[in-house]
């Protein structure tokens, strides 16, 4: 596959393994003058190359935890480190894809992706090649010169994934990246994301409230409980990949997860969000 070859030539030297350690992290916000505890004493370890899903209802602090890992929220208690280095602010070693594509509306798809490389230690030629390779990786060939308003929601999110990956981070954080998409597009992008993860072999941490998405994608699903946000259970999912959402194993685990969420009696078919779309 020549995309793979291209990506390999543009690879930045060894980044480390993408291991993540979250130790006793607590975080409060002040809302209307009163402190609200968003996370209480959360600890978790993510191995290099692992796909971990943070699952929980609205208000369980899963997005807050992801923003702390990204380095977007400077103040919290506890410690977070990537490959042994405490995180301080954002880093090109950690990519992030938000729920909204957040593309710059004044820049084309390729310009948007190229902006991610502004501070990368690469030659101009290497940057151009990396942009082209990542456009191909997410299946947006032919749309490099399109502006964001000319893209569908799914295409815009593909562009955002390419932008999150273009720095070749060892860790990619995904904050409900498919939450705003229609069911068909969401299902297709979940499969795409599995393929990209297998291809890139990097660590991914995905936040979602969709149980099906969680068990389809995760090596482990970490269930968070709300108010204050804390880890309530962890499910290891050893089903072989590539997975299909109709695998018996997955259906069984999905039901276990739902039971753990205190939602066991519901026999939903298809997408089973715990709460409405965030």
């Amino acid at each position: 596959m020549n995309v793979a070859a291209q990506l390999r030539t543009t690879a930045v030297p060894d980044h480390g393994q993408g291991r993540l350690e979250v130790r006793n992290v607590s975080k409060s916000f002040v809302v209307n003058g009163a402190p609200v505890e968003a996370l209480r004493d959360v600890s978790l370890d993510v191995a290099g190359g692992e796909f971990v899903v943070l699952l929980g209802p609205s208000g369980c602090g899963k997005s807050t935890l992801l923003r702390l890992i990204a380095g977007l929220e400077p103040e919290f208690r506890g410690s977070i480190s990537q490959d042994g280095n405490a995180i301080a602010g954002t880093s090109l070693d950690r990519g992030i894809v938000f729920q909204e594509p957040r593309l710059f509306p004044w820049a084309t798809v390729s310009q948007n992706i190229a902006l991610g490389l502004k501070n990368a230690p690469l030659s101009d030629r290497a940057k151009r090649e990396a942009v082209a390779a990542h456009i191909t990786l997410v299946g947006l060939d032919g749309f490099a010169q399109a502006y964001p308003h000319q893209l569908s929601g799914g295409m815009a999110q593909r562009a955002a994934i390419a932008r999150g990956l273009v720095n070749r981070p060892r860790l990619l954080l995904l904050d409900e990246p498919f939450g705003a998409l229609d069911a068909l597009t969401r299902a297709r992008l979940q499969v795409e994301l599995q393929r990209i993860w297998a291809h890139e072999r990097i660590t991914m941490v995905l936040v979602t409230h969709d149980v099906d998405e969680a068990v389809l994608l995760g090596d482990r699903v970490i269930v968070l409980a709300p108010r204050p946000g804390r880890v309530s259970r962890i499910f290891a999912i050893s089903a072989p990949r590539p997975r299909s959402r109709t695998d018996d194993d997955l259906v069984r685990i999905r039901n276990d997860v739902l039971r753990a969420l205190g939602d066991g009696e519901e026999d939903g078919s298809g997408g089973t969000p715990i709460s409405g779309p965030a």
């Binding site: 909204e100 710059f104 964001p148 815009a156 720095n167």
Partner: protein
């Protein structure tokens, strides 16, 4: 829009001015108003022809446009720098903005005595006054545009470790561009109004304002009317040209898919 629809809308746009000109002509010829105060159109036309032939009208127009443009360029350039500073620096914003909001309440023409005391009555003073008129809308709109930059896009810049200059070039300036263009558009209009004001109140040297003053002093209503028509036409063309440029310069304006 099809060409016939375009013609139709142009036709509707012309109804009012043509109606006014007709009323003017009828009123002037019927003796309903004194011809000395409202000369018939053909007299104004004849004066226009004379002034054109002697080269005086074009010379005056060139002089006015030159100082208009000069004032606009210096004023909006300073406006962009000041606007960036106020928009991006919280401290500068807090210290200056209240003061500035008070300052802009001063009617533009009220600056003329001060400026003429500081800079005299010649070219320099006029250009400073025009520049001031152009700078104010640029500053106000640019600051507003920068403050309205989506927090979510700023975070994307943080994720990519943008430095100060990169934030300005790749996030704040493009985000504020529609606002900035609105400000520049207003600056063009204000600068032209200020040009006429400056020429009228700081009368020295050639200019369209000078033509109007000369007409008034000689009680030559044709000349006054001619001057007013030229001022109006230039203002109209400047406004239209700016709108056209604004549409061409922002290809992403249709974008609301921001998040």
């Amino acid at each position: 829009m099809s060409s016939s629809a375009a013609l139709g809308s142009l036709g509707r746009g012309l109804v009012l001015p043509i109606g006014l000109l007709l009323t003017w002509e009828v009123a002037s010829h019927s003796g309903l108003v004194n011809r000395q105060f409202l000369p018939p159109l053909e007299h104004v036309g004849a004066t226009a022809w004379q002034e054109l032939a002697s080269g005086e009208l074009l010379e005056a127009l060139a002089a006015s446009l030159r100082r208009d443009l000069l004032g606009f360029v210096f004023g909006s350039g300073a406006g962009v720098l000041i606007g960036l500073l106020l928009g991006l620096s919280t401290i500068a914003d807090r210290v200056v903005m209240t003061w500035f909001n008070g300052l802009k309440q001063i009617a533009l023409l009220a600056w003329i005595p001060l400026i003429s005391l500081w800079f005299g009555f010649d070219e320099m003073a006029k250009v400073v006054f025009i520049g001031l008129a152009a700078a104010i809308p640029v500053i106000l709109n640019l600051v507003e545009g920068i403050h309205a930059t989506s927090r979510k896009l700023v975070e994307v810049g943080e994720v990519f470790r943008f430095n100060r200059v990169q934030f300005i070039l790749y996030v704040y300036l493009p985000a504020a561009m529609p606002s900035l263009l609105t400000g520049l558009h207003l600056a063009l209009i204000y600068a032209w109004l200020a040009t006429i004001g400056a020429e009228y109140f700081m009368a020295a040297g050639p200019g369209i304002g000078g033509i109007i003053i000369a007409g008034r002093e000689r009680f030559d209503m044709d000349l006054v009317m001619l001057g007013i028509l030229v001022v109006g036409s230039v203002g109209f063309l400047v406004d239209r040209g700016a709108s056209w440029l604004e549409r061409r310069l922002i290809p992403w304006r249709a974008a609301s898919a921001l998040a």
